[in-house]
């Protein structure tokens, strides 16, 4: 702990991890800016935890380097890295009380007068009166806060969080998300947060890296990822997307738009929102988010303004969930289009069986490479995988 360089970015250069013939993480380049709240998002087994453990030093990368600021820490053992981890199981030492748990890191670095710092840290996580309790006497949420305090007291350059909220119930999780965000803003330390919960990642992080099968699929701010997914995996894993298989009619028509057709419907989208270069005669996956779509009964089609994308269909299912109503619409272009409508003025004619016209602004349409699976990242696929695993 002689090194006193302040902060610095986390730089992963070409790091990968193999276990025998299995590749957990494919060569990966990632720069996590100092002071940011960075989320690694992906389903279980995508390599996000392995990546985190390589930053912590608990796992040696098979190739590549890990850098902190200007320093190469690839071969430093974890106890020599200015990095601390909040473990998924919290890993509080069961034979020590809360006070000693929090003081552990300071004491190991030879600091003897720890009382002031420990007291302050326990106040920060609102556990001052529990200092002399043992970990098993605290609730899950309290243990979680102890784990955060125990790591933060060391003022690490980077705090790593490995699914820290996974074991908490929904309400407590929401509360802790805000709490962690508050602490991060307060201390200004770089947080790297691993999670499989897309909502959690979007709520907390400035930057999200979506990982799939050992690779980073896409990296960006939550809104950027949500509005402009570049792969079907991201489109489906982050929220819900309606994907329509379409053939490209013409490119660069009026105002740099792409015209496509799908089962008779003519759709239009900006070239800039395509993740591939569309070619006339080629295929394209056209996507639109459910909340961007408006729905009207078929006999009111004339009220729809010119220049909007229109698709006809029939409502097969509707579920009222309070703030909005979610419709599933069977259409020629896609058998299960999802549409979310805000419950401002509810139209009594929009019931299952009703013929409807869906319409949306072409600006809200994105285009994806048609050579990939439309189902990547959907829960349907995840469910199928689970079934296979269970039957195996």
């Amino acid at each position: 702990m002689t090194d006193k360089t302040e902060g610095g970015d986390v730089r992963l250069a070409g790091i990968s991890k193999h276990y025998g013939t299995f590749t957990a993480v494919h060569p990966l380049d990632l720069t996590i800016p100092q002071g940011s709240f960075f989320a690694l998002l992906g389903a279980s087994g995508c390599g996000k935890t392995t990546t985190l453990r390589m930053i912590a030093g608990l796992e040696e990368p098979s190739t590549g380097t890990v850098g902190l600021g200007d320093r190469d820490v690839t071969h430093l053992p974890p106890y020599k890295r200015p990095v601390n981890t909040v473990f998924q199981s919290y890993a509080l030492f069961p034979h020590m009380d809360i006070y000693e748990n929090v003081a552990f890191g300071l004491r190991r670095r030879g600091i003897t007068s720890v009382k002031k710092q420990v007291d302050e840290m326990l106040e920060l996580v609102q556990l001052g009166q529990f200092a002399r309790r043992k970990p098993h006497q605290l609730s899950g949420g309290q243990q979680q806060r102890v784990a955060v305090a125990r790591a933060l007291i060391n003022h690490p350059q980077v705090l790593l969080l490995d699914e820290p909220l996974g074991a908490l119930d929904l309400k407590l999780r929401r509360q802790m998300q805000l709490e962690l965000k508050r602490i991060q803003t307060e201390v200004g330390i770089t947080f790297v947060h691993v999670t499989h919960d897309q909502e959690e990642a979007m709520t907390m992080a400035d930057t999200v890296a979506v990982m799939n099968a050992g690779r980073v699929e896409q990296l960006g701010a939550p809104a950027e990822l949500y509005e402009n997914p570049r792969t079907t995996f991201v489109a489906n894993f982050l929220g819900t997307s309606n994907l329509i298989q379409a053939s490209v009619e013409s490119v660069g028509g009026a105002g740099g738009d792409v015209d496509v057709s799908a089962s008779g419907a003519k759709l239009r989208l900006p070239v800039a929102r395509c993740s591939t270069t569309p070619r006339a005669g080629g295929q394209l996956l056209v996507g639109v988010r459910p909340e961007k779509i408006s729905v009207v009964p078929a006999d009111e089609e004339h009220t729809i303004g010119a220049g909007r994308n229109k698709v006809t269909g029939r409502i097969v299912d509707s579920s009222f969930i309070g703030v909005s109503t979610q419709y599933v619409v069977d259409s020629a272009v896609c058998p299960e289009l999802e549409v979310y409508v805000q419950n401002i003025e509810r139209d009594g004619r929009l019931v299952p069986g009703a013929e409807v016209v869906l319409h949306w602004n072409p600006e809200h349409t994105f285009g994806l490479d048609a050579a990939q699976s439309m189902l990547a990242g959907t829960t349907a696929v995840a469910g199928a995988e689970q079934l296979v695993e269970e039957s195996a």
């Binding site: 106890y79 981890t85 473990f87 509080l92 030492f93 034979h95 190991r108 309790r133 060391n154």
Partner: protein, 264 residues
């Protein structure tokens, strides 16, 4: 009838307790006897003679000291070795790990008399002088499996993330072991050590085969039972029983205190 049904559990408990404790009561009562012949089997009159002079019989206290000495060294040896073996078996993947894993429990499963005879054959073939060292080697060997079993169970149930957390919090390998691994494994190690001490101290069969001219306390008792039983044997037996009960009581009181000291 109603009363009987309601208190059946208590009655069953008391009967079991009586069954367990009766032999000890007999030993204790006869430690205050003043037998007329060489055998201490029939009650004559109350006397404190034996308690006043527990070492009054030739060689008794020497054999007791030897037994305690062997038990202490055997406990130390078996605990250190056994704990290391247990850690190795749980933590590392190495060649012949599976074989070691099952072979280590052989002494537990094998009839003691077989083990005693084979050890004797081994020592004789190697030309080793029977005595203190052969007894100690034999005791460490059969205590080992009990320590391994106790420590292994404890280490297996330990969250591997605890040690990772320690390393993550600036504890090097030695510090991690001393501050986290060892304290958490301690109850298992203590249980193994206590078992070892008890097993070593009262072992007769294996010791009898491999002792040569050396006489341990159980062997002394056995020998004297042939020629006549001095009351002092009952005195030592009673003292050991009381000591063991005291240790348990103190342990439980300390444990209860510690629990009470922490609210909830």
């Amino acid at each position: 009838m109603q009363w009987l049904r309601r208190n059946l559990v208590v009655i069953a408990g008391l009967v079991t307790l009586a069954y367990l404790i009766l032999p000890n009561v007999v030993v204790t009562v006869f430690s205050f006897n003043n037998p007329t012949g060489r055998f201490n089997y029939a009650w004559q009159e109350f006397s404190l003679d034996a308690w006043k002079d527990p070492c009054g019989v030739a060689d008794l206290c020497d054999s007791l000291a030897l037994s305690l000495q062997i038990a202490l060294w055997a406990t130390l040896g078996a605990t250190v070795l056994g704990a290391m073996i247990a850690f190795a078996l749980v933590r590392y993947r190495f060649r012949a790990r599976g074989a070691v894993n099952s072979l280590i429990f052989m002494p537990m499963a094998m009839p003691e008399i077989v083990m005693a005879a084979s050890l004797l054959a081994l020592f004789l073939n190697m030309g080793i002088q029977l005595g203190f060292w052969t007894i100690l080697i034999a005791h460490i060997m059969f205590c080992l499996s009990f320590v391994v079993a106790a420590v292994k169970a404890r280490v297996l149930s330990m969250d591997p993330q605890l040690e990772e957390a320690a390393r993550d919090l600036y504890a090097g390998p030695a510090q991690t072991f001393l501050r986290v691994t060892l304290p958490i494994a301690a109850p298992g190690i203590a249980a193994g050590a206590l078992l070892s001490f008890a097993l070593s101290f009262d072992d007769f069969i294996i010791t009898n085969f491999n002792s040569g001219n050396t006489v341990t306390f159980p062997m002394f008792v056995w020998g004297s039972a042939q020629r006549g039983t001095p009351v002092q044997i009952n005195v030592i037996g009673t003292a050991m029983f009381v000591l063991a009960v005291l240790v348990v009581l103190v342990g439980q009181t300390v444990g209860a205190r510690r629990k009470k000291a922490q609210p909830e």
